[in-house]
């Protein structure tokens, strides 16, 4: 949502004219880019818990287990033990964060064998990262 709001703001300022407008344009652009950067640096999304639960439903009946698997995934991949990093990793996979996007992304992982084994169980990488997100966000009930 954040990038869209910034873009609207940029378009609003461009309606001015002259030097002031150019300054305003440069300022707005830099500000927008900074905003974008900050937004991505922090957390570009807030995955809805129902979407995550739905995406993980084929593998898990119990959200506690998701968080446990997530903890084990992060222990094996400490570089991702940060909500923003994790979000970027998920974001980079490019499927979006709506429920069907996550499900598609998981299906793509299976197709391309992007998998991780945790305690011997084979998970799609996206599943493992969503579990890690559940763990980091303390979303386990």
């Amino acid at each position: 949502m954040a990038p869209v709001l910034k873009k609207r703001a940029v378009l609003g300022r461009l309606s001015r004219t002259g030097m002031g407008a150019r300054r305003a344009f440069v300022g707005a652009t830099l500000g927008g880019l900074a905003g974008l950067w900050l937004a991505r640096r922090a957390a570009p999304w807030a995955p809805a818990r129902p979407a995550v639960l739905r995406a993980l439903a084929p593998a898990f009946a119990d959200p506690h287990a998701m968080a446990e698997v997530g903890a084990l995934y992060l222990a094996a991949h400490p570089a991702e033990a940060d909500a923003a990093v994790l979000a970027r990793a998920l974001c980079a996979a490019g499927a979006g964060f709506d429920p069907s996007g996550l499900v598609r992304q998981i299906a793509g992982d299976w197709r391309e064998q992007r998998t991780v084994a945790i305690l011997g169980w084979v998970f799609a990488r996206t599943e493992a990262r969503l579990c890690a997100w559940m763990h980091l966000e303390g979303n386990a009930p």
Partner: protein, 536 residues
């Protein structure tokens, strides 16, 4: 004619054109093929017509590597190890014969196309009365529509089970061909005729005679134009080594290759498939299935050759072993039935009857399947029982390794011959193959919504050694390997021992690589090919 050396006072010398040493799948196949020809054939078998502990004990030896059931894995009486054969038949893949640049010491000196006509004849020898159809046609006959697997990764694999010989559970060489051996005027079978020694000419290029002896001391000598070792995957190497011990460099061992590259298919659980739903559809796809021709077939999975090449892996296959759902109506009916047969009224009968009644469809299908396959309702096993989980059993090809070898132990057997010593070694490539294969099965089964897989600990980081988790298949391969170059193998493409004029080897010991599938059909195909060569 079949004679028992142990029951004769003395025999003297038998003169033959072809002397076959060993009466298992290879020896019987060659004798049968030469029966009725102009050649005089003498087949010597160390055992008798039935299992005898004293004879079997001669197979004992020393393990210094991965354990091998030297006494239990092989059988020492007419029919050889086929006496505990399960009848599972398949041809090696075309890719198994090729030199694989990622796999040192791979490549046969002949290809699958050259062996095809012999495979066709081997199927008849193994009891099949009809020509095999293509896998796709057979699957259609079995009404199996496999799931939509990515065939570039993994694909269905089909085994054919040989029909049962009368009075036996499966096809049995001894029962099937005993009469042929008895009746053939040009074939003489000597039972209880144990190898003692070879006599060679001066340079050691030609075997002149074979001395045999029964355990009670009756001796005989066989002179022949040609001798063929058909004594099994381990014993073939041992007998060559015993010959070479007296004549270093002879008996194919000029390059110290006899006994090396010893391999075996490893089999064991590699993973567990679980599903929230019953695996009923999968059970109809990947299982041992009864065909309309009355024969059994087994559908499993194999790794696509392209993946093997891309990732530097070995060949392998997997089958599913379903774990019956104890809550199912079928399992409950089994429990009730066994209880009643045992004379006691099962507890909570009302609840159990209700469970059966509420699962009537699956119950009826199971009874139908069990009746068709001859399993009683009381029999153990998950045959026809709906399942929510299955163990994934893998069969692995082994990489040829010169350090994995057969040699001679210092200890001697009851006949005064040095026992065998095995140093069977498994390598990291086998584990890597199983891990990659299981990973693909897990991905594909998850993608198709079939279920989820858990890898066995030996495939996990820091898990136990692979050798602790996998079992033997008794498929002993490679210890007298075939190669055109004497520096690379013990026998040539016809099974003739390099550097010898009239000594041949038949059996799985000549396979340079073993693929993943059961070797018997290939042993028989090569034996038929050798029989043709000997007939020329």
């Amino acid at each position: 004619m079949i004679e028992n050396l142990a029951e004769l006072k003395s025999l003297g010398t038998i003169d033959a054109d072809v002397c076959l040493i060993g009466g298992g799948a290879a020896g019987i196949t060659i004798a049968r093929q030469l029966a009725g020809s102009a050649l005089r054939v003498c087949l010597v078998e160390g055992g008798s017509l039935k299992y005898e502990t004293e004879s079997q004990e001669l197979f004992d030896g020393q393990n210094v590597g991965q354990p091998i059931a030297l006494e239990g894995g092989r059988l020492r009486f007419l029919g050889g190890t086929t006496n505990h054969w399960g009848g599972r038949c398949a041809m090696l893949d075309a890719a198994d014969f090729r030199a694989r640049d990622w796999l040192p010491h791979s490549g046969w000196p002949l290809d699958r196309a050259e062996l095809e006509p012999y495979y066709a004849r081997a199927r008849a020898v193994a009891g099949f009365t009809q020509e095999w159809q293509s896998d796709a046609q057979t699957l259609a006959l079995l009404k199996v529509a496999p799931p939509d697997l990515n065939a570039d990764l993994i694909r269905p694999y089909l085994w054919h089970y040989a029909p049962a010989t009368k009075d036996a559970g499966v096809w049995n060489w001894r029962i099937a061909y005993r009469k042929v051996l008895e009746d053939a005027p040009n074939v003489r079978v000597l039972l209880n005729a144990n190898f003692q020694s070879f006599t060679t000419d001066g340079p050691g290029r030609r075997v002149q005679a074979l001395a045999v002896r029964s355990r009670n001391g009756v001796g005989a000598t066989i002179t022949a134009r040609r001798f063929v070792l058909c004594s099994g995957g381990i014993e073939n190497a041992r007998l060559l080594l015993l010959g070479a011990a007296d004549r270093p460099g002879a008996f194919g061992n000029a390059h110290d290759l006899v006994g090396r590259y010893f391999m075996q298919h490893s089999r064991g659980p590699a993973g567990l498939l679980v599903s929230a739903e019953r695996l009923s559809r999968l059970q109809e796809q990947f299982n041992v299935l009864l065909g309309p021709d009355g024969l059994e077939y087994e559908v499993g999975l194999t790794l696509a050759p392209a993946v093997q090449a891309q990732q530097g892996l070995l060949n392998c296959s997997a089958v599913l072993q379903y774990q019956g759902d104890p809550e199912s109506g079928v399992a409950t009916a089994q429990e009730i039935w066994r209880g009643l047969l045992g004379g006691h009224w099962p507890p909570q009968m009302g609840e159990k009857v209700w469970r059966v009644a509420s699962d009537l469809g699956a119950f009826a299908r199971s009874v139908e399947q069990r009746l068709a396959s001859g399993h009683s309702l009381a029999a153990d096993g998950a045959q026809g029982v709906p399942s929510r989980s299955a163990v994934i059993l893998v069969d692995l090809e082994q990489a040829p390794d010169p350090q994995s070898r057969i040699s001679l132990a210092d200890e001697r057997d009851a006949l005064g011959l040095r026992r065998v010593r095995t140093d069977w070694r498994l390598g990291e490539r086998e584990r890597r193959t199983a891990a990659a294969f299981m990973g693909l099965i897990a991905s594909e089964f998850a993608r198709l919504g079939i279920g989820r897989c858990r890898l066995e600990p030996w495939l996990q980081d820091g898990g136990p050694p692979m050798g602790d988790a996998l079992g033997e298949t008794y498929h002993y391969i490679g210890a007298t390997r075939m190669a055109e170059d004497p520096r690379e193998g013990v026998v040539d493409r016809n099974g003739a021992v390099h550097g010898m004029d009239n000594l041949f080897v038949a059996g799985s010991s000549v396979f340079p690589t073993g693929g993943h599938t059961n070797p018997t059909l290939t042993i028989v195909a090569l034996a038929l090919r050798l029989a043709d060569h000997l007939s020329k």
